[in-house]
Amino acid sequence: MSTESHAHAVHRDDFGAKLGMWLFLVTEINLFGGLFIAYSYMRHKYPAEFHHGGAELNATLGVTNTIVLLTSSLTVVLAIMAMQRGKAALSRAYLLTTVGFGITFLVIKTFEWSAKFHHGLYPSAPHLGTLPHGEQIFFGLYFTMTGLHGLHVLVGMCLLFVISNLVKSGKITQSKYVLLENGGLYWHLVDVIWIFLLPLFYLAA
């Protein structure tokens, strides 16, 4: 690799830190990859039931959430760009905005989930048990995958909040902001996974 200038000489290795983060993202992708395999297999087995299951979901809310997350990816990039120009306060503002979008996403998600609960469409619910097998699996996977994704949103928000505090206290600066970049990478991952969840569930009908 051409970028391998020797990390020994300097105590800090930003390239190495980013490499580590990318490798971590690979593990995250494979984590969801296992679920996508389960999804593909089950959808292949129950195509009609997945169609009906998708029709039960609220595509409008799903698309709204997509827009929210995509915008939050933009604000996190703006936070990094602000830091590169040395505007720490602006960077922090963008980070907190990103966290705000994360909260918005989770609030919308909560409304969605509680509507499903209200209609008895959750795992082991008596009503869901009366539906065809494929639909039970559809909702099992829906709650598992969006739930695991929601957990990642939550973790990402905490991470970005901690980073925003480090920006405030001057631990992250114009010349040393690899942690901010890594936080941004994680947030993009959360975004990218949602991009796949949207069509697989909400647009399945």
Partner: protein
């Protein structure tokens, strides 16, 4: 050559914390390695005890010792402990941590704090596993593979046991991330990938498998927990789920995991053989490349565990073929190791003896694996003692003996002490005889049709069980002697020189035990790793 004084070696160094805290909070890769060594050997003996009791049960015809349910819990405990707490971290966690940075000329791994955190994940997972034994409705009884649908129906404490394995996966994954970054970023100036010793090569391949495969297991285990907690249905046939899907997802990780266990062992063997034959390794690029090939093909053979689970004929044939293919890179290694000894000046020290035993036992393990890859034969051998015997030949005869060989090889470097050669030879005798008495008998029992995981056996299998049980006693005697003599050597052994085996890789250029920062000055590397001064150019 470093000129550091003895006071500054990593064992005696007093940092911000002293005593036990100086170990528990140290991010020095060498101390983390010793933490792993001590904890893993402890767990290893816990696993051995469970195995010992299981053998006793097969010896006593009236089963007064323990109940069938306890027997199920015992083999689950034995499997979980040995797999997740011993062979998966294995040589990777102990010698990878200790030797990797030194052998590539670095002062530490890329992320020292993450490295220590990995150990805490490891210990945390282990504690949860122990908790699972004593809480809830009894210890898990599913076997280490947690097969659905039993694992989602069993009333025992499966969720907590599965969660322990999930946490342990984190430890393994983070170590993988750490090592890949270390190898990319911290090699000494001049050490290109093809001038890197073979142990780091093997660790590199292993780390990639840890990164790629472990998350799939993690999410599979999450699904089992969710299934048990909320009934999501994915693996539950009553709700339209599919237990075979569980098997696929489980083996997608757990077969590559077998290579996570064996590859670092192969890497250590590739270090030991050149040193004790004072000859450059034969086929350096072939061995390095075969590590990558094993990682690649090893990820594509998982369903050979499932020939009798009801896959399509095409699927069976495909996975059978790929299973045959994955034997090729392993064979490449074995032939190159043997060729390395040819015309070398062989110095028959304990590490070499154990390394050669590895080659012998691993070859039996590997070849019995090919048998099971053959579809027709597998129907007969599936779920018998044959698989148990095969697996122990690979994991214990392979990884276990390589672990012992590596420990004997690097022990003088790690502790700065020499052990008794005589004790190591005598221990080898008991280990080797006991091992073959125990597991070769299992291969025969399996061929005769003895099913695995059975609490009782028919009278015609009794002689085999008696031989195997006696073998287990001899084996345990060897283990006690082996670790006992090493423990004695840690405190009472003679002082070791910096390079007792006349090795030429970088770890032998630093004092024994190494100073805290390994190198005063980062070495410059200009040639391949195995240039022995005594060797005549071929």
């Amino acid at each position: 050559m470093s000129t550091s004084t003895a006071e500054s070696n990593y064992l005696e160094y007093e940092g911000r914390h002293s005593g036990l805290l100086g170990w528990l909070l140290s991010t020095d890769h060498k101390r983390v390695a010793i933490l792993y060594l001590v904890s893993m050997v402890t767990f290893f003996f816990a696993g051995v005890s469970a195995g010992f009791v299981m053998r006793l049960v097969q010896l006593t015809p009236f089963h007064k010792l323990i109940t069938a349910q306890t027997y199920n819990a015992l083999f689950t405990f034995h499997g979980v402990v040995m797999i997740f707490l011993f062979v998966i971290p294995g040589l990777n966690a102990v010698f990878g941590n200790f030797i990797l940075p030194i052998i590539i000329g670095a002062k530490d791994v890329a992320f020292p704090r993450l490295n220590l955190a990995s150990w805490y994940f490891f210990i945390g997972g282990a504690l949860i596993a122990v908790t699972a034994l004593f809480t809830g409705n009894g210890p898990p009884d599913t076997g280490w593979s947690f097969y659905a649908p039993f694992s989602i129906k069993s009333g025992t404490n499966v969720s907590l046991g599965v969660f322990a394995a999930f946490i342990l996966g984190f430890s393994s994954m983070l170590t993988g991330i750490n090592f890949v970054t270390t190898i990319h970023r911290l090699r000494a100036p001049g050490m290109t990938f093809f001038k890197m010793p073979l142990f780091p090569w093997a660790l590199y391949a292993t780390s990639w498998m840890q990164i790629l495969a472990t998350p799939v297991l993690a999410v599979t285990l999450v699904l089992v927990i969710l299934e048990r907690a909320f009934g999501i249905g994915v693996f539950d046939p009553a709700k339209g789920g599919d237990p075979v899907l569980y098997q696929h997802m489980f083996w997608m990780y757990s077969h590559p995991a077998v290579y996570i266990m064996i590859l670092p062992a192969m890497g250590a063997i590739s270090e030991i053989l050149p040193t004790f034959s004072q000859r450059t390794i034969f086929g350096y690029k072939a061995i390095a490349g075969s590590s990558i090939a094993i990682a690649g093909f090893g990820s594509l053979v998982w369903a050979h565990h499932m020939f009798t689970s009801g896959m399509s004929a095409f699927g069976n044939i495909l996975f059978s073929f790929l299973t045959m293919v994955v034997a090729v890179p392993s064979a490449i290694k074995v032939f190159n190791w043997i060729a390395t000894l040819y015309k070398g000046s062989v110095n028959f020290q304990p590490p070499l003896l154990y390394a050669l035993s590895f080659i012998f036992l691993f070859s039996i393990g590997g070849m019995t694996g090919v048998w099971q890859g053959a579809l027709a034969l597998d129907v007969h051998l599936h779920d018998t003692y044959f698989i148990v015997g095969h697996f122990h030949y690979v994991m214990f005869g392979g990884t276990g003996f390589a672990f012992f060989a590596a420990l004997l090889y690097w022990f003088p470097k790690m502790f700065g002490k020499m052990y008794s050669n005589t004790a190591a030879y005598v221990a080898w005798f008991f280990l080797f005889i006991g091992f073959n008495g125990l597991y070769f008998t299992m291969l025969v029992l399996g061929m005769q049709g003895m099913p695995r995981r059975y609490y009782a056996h028919l009278p015609q299998y009794h002689l085999g069980h008696v031989i195997a049980t006696v073998g287990s006693w001899v084996l345990i005697l060897g283990l006690l002697l082996f670790f006992g003599s090493l423990l004695y050597a840690v405190f009472r052994g003679k002082k070791a020189s910096a390079n007792p085996w006349h090795g030429v890789t970088l770890e032998w250029t630093v004092p024994s035990p190494p100073p805290v920062e390994n190198f005063d000055e980062i070495p410059e590397v200009s040639q391949g790793p195995y240039h022995f001064p005594s060797e005549v150019a071929l």
